[in-house]
Subunit: 255 residues, 4 copies
């Protein structure tokens, strides 16, 4: 289980959401409130869009709470669209290659959840990664494998459909393999213009996901970053959101 | 606030105490029970004696709970005398140089506690470090400074007296500077033959310290590492212990 | 290109070979003499056997030349059989998971060389890893993949034959894929009792490999670690060695 | 010996100078041409000014040549004034706290050179750091100590004079202590508006320093970053430069 945050809207310093709020993502790295694991100290990552099509990224294996570089970058980088993630590893190594957000071309992707019995499924899910992307697989997480598989299913044209196809295929493989542990997928991704977020699980118990408008922008979080609980709306299980800078978020169903 | 463990006795693999028990030091790095901070994820260190006079040491800045190297070293190093420490930083950087145990010649030293208002006192305490040791100061903690100052006060001949002199001098400097925050010193050190442990604070509220016999050996801990709570005896505030391999521990007062 | 060293014989401190000689492996991390790249600063690893069947291991991503932990471990660990490696990455990330020696059960493996055009071959070589080992794949190197594939070809019973089968299969895949870059394999491995070393390449230009007797033991190196050049014998291209503690090394051909 | 680069002028992506040129600073981290040590793999740092008075900073202990974060930050951060440094340690630890550029308030500082026999001088130079800055000393280098001492000698009002006073005082202490090794100081610093660079040594053999105009800006380097050797002018021993964005550099003497 991990904690994440995605923002699109008026350009702001990353620190505005990552460091400053009372229950900021850095605070959540040590004291998450709604996660199964309170401590999310197994590495972190931030990704942001600037003047280029491809995003910048800073990942590290130490806890977010003690990293001076992260504080400095968040105090100096202003962006209209950024992602941030603090990790609680569930069986795979603590390494930069396993830190979210994952990046491929202009896309960023973050995931909270898991493929049940991952060690048994890994080979089958990696087989879903298309040849031309196979060598870009850098880590060992289920999250990165799902992302690369979705890229092979048309993520660039229909990202919601691509993830749906991959999740259904994984669910079918899990059933065929006799895995009874659930497949859970609370995730957010972006192509640099739009941000999507979905909340889905094969057992109907996906990890939490909240959002709120911020001016004409959108913030999506694992759990609220401030004390204004009434401003944050939960995304329902089987639901999703999509927004672009300057446009109102639209909700959709995700099954 | 940190968590530590010291052992002397029959040679055992480090893992016997550092990794395996239900409330081992590695477990305490994520879930300490009696500390002000539950998480001790700001680096760690182990030091051990083998065939040489000077101890070996392995320190790292990441949390103990996720470090494969630590697991491997603890599974393969057997020692009659070793120290282990997981750190919760209180204001100074997370760096190898700030990890306990500190080493000087054949000595190791670990500390749980603090010099109140350390940033105001630092210069004065560093002035207590003798010239010939000054260049060996590698970090910025109060703990290392106390250790180096004690080396200048005769640690090699009368270690208890040396720490007492240094603590009294620091207490006096704190009073002269107008610092009202307390000076707290729960610590353990060794010359490779004997292990000392003391528990003292200027406000009579030192961090916890427990010990128990282990065959003809001694284990000293911040908090018990297993569920046999009745086997562990608290060291009283103002008290200390000294033991050598094969000898019964002796208690003393420390004021 | 990397530099490595393997030792079996009378128990010695690791530092005897890793740190102390004039052209020690640590010295080679900054100034290799016979490698294509003089600097081998992309991480390192040591593995050693003690009282357990499985070896201990310490790997890190920083250069060997500046790591105090490595110095300390090598000064305090005495072993009858150990491996050490300093890495010069050739396209894959600098991460602990990509550091040699690789470990599987009681085996250790180190490799200097490469599978030409690795990014095109990766999927095919990973397909050679048997199901029950697939989840133990932690990194992205060709070296680890060859090792895991050999485990699936009977490494535990006939290690030389297992590597030969894997290398031939890879060579055939390279030909089928149209890869013209060579397959080079200068490697050493151990089951904790015997040490094997081979030197082979599809273009007959494998990286250098030397050995010498050390009492009734064996030292195998990428390049000599001391100035006594006449004591070191090159392993010929297409040749191999096997030795056990206390027995004279035997040579064999490897095609 | 280290390698550094400072830029002020039209806002450019950091990569323009740090990563892209044929002999960029990252290239110099492995293959410096004019330094005593070819390899500068003991950590690195970049500092840059954006919309805030205080600069951002990213430092790490691994070599610059293999750090994906550094590449990503340099590809996405655009600045009118930035510093970059790759380190070759000379006796002090490889740690973030010892990485240049050092930062204090709105100032950045980088140094190539050394105080001869630093371990003997350290106490005396640290005594020059004023009380209110003493607690900000995070590392153990001579470079950081010189910088903090200069802040106590009026760096904010007359930075050239402040460094001169400190260097003279250190030279006098060295003479009084009987140190015959030289004091060498090739350095650059900035307050966020102007960039200064000086080249001085007590034995008249300061490390190299070059500059060139870049539009209406200035680039200062340890050694040229590209093949256009004739565009780079050496700063003479005992010389200095100062420039601000949009203004022509002015030279001065520094004794």
């Amino acid at each position: 289980m991990c904690r994440f945050l995605a923002y699109c809207g008026e350009p702001v310093l990353l620190e505005t959401l990552v460091c400053t709020p009372c229950h900021s993502l850095i605070e959540q790295s040590m004291h998450a409130a709604e996660a199964k694991t309170e401590t999310n100290g197994d590495g972190f990552g931030v990704g942001w869009y600037s003047e280029r099509t491809e995003p910048g990224r800073y990942c590290e294996i130490r806890p977010a709470w003690s990293d001076e570089n992260l504080q400095s970058i968040c105090s100096h980088v202003r962006s209209h669209l950024f992602f941030a993630h603090v990790r609680a590893a569930t069986g795979t190594a603590v390494s930069r290659a396993n830190c979210h957000p994952f990046k491929a071309g202009r896309f960023l992707f973050m995931h909270n959840g898991q493929i049940g019995d991952w060690t048994r499924l890994r080979r089958k899910v990696e087989a879903m990664i298309p040849d031309h992307l196979y060598a870009t697989r850098t880590g060992t997480t289920d999250s990165e494998a799902i992302f690369l598989a979705a890229l092979g299913q048309g993520l660039e044209e229909d990202s919601v459909g691509a993830f749906r196809k991959v999740l259904h295929a994984i669910r079918d493989e899990m059933a065929a393999t006799g895995v009874t542990a659930p497949l859970r997928f609370t995730a957010t991704w972006t192509d640099g213009e739009r941000v999507w977020a979905v909340r889905w699980a094969s057992d109907n118990k996906p990890p939490s996901l909240y959002w709120r408008a911020s001016g004409d922008g959108l913030i999506v979080v694992s759990e609220p970053v401030d004390a204004q609980r009434d401003q944050w709306r939960p995304v329902p299980s089987g639901g999703g959101l999509v927004a672009r800078v300057g446009g109102a978020p639209e909700s959709f169903t995700f099954h």
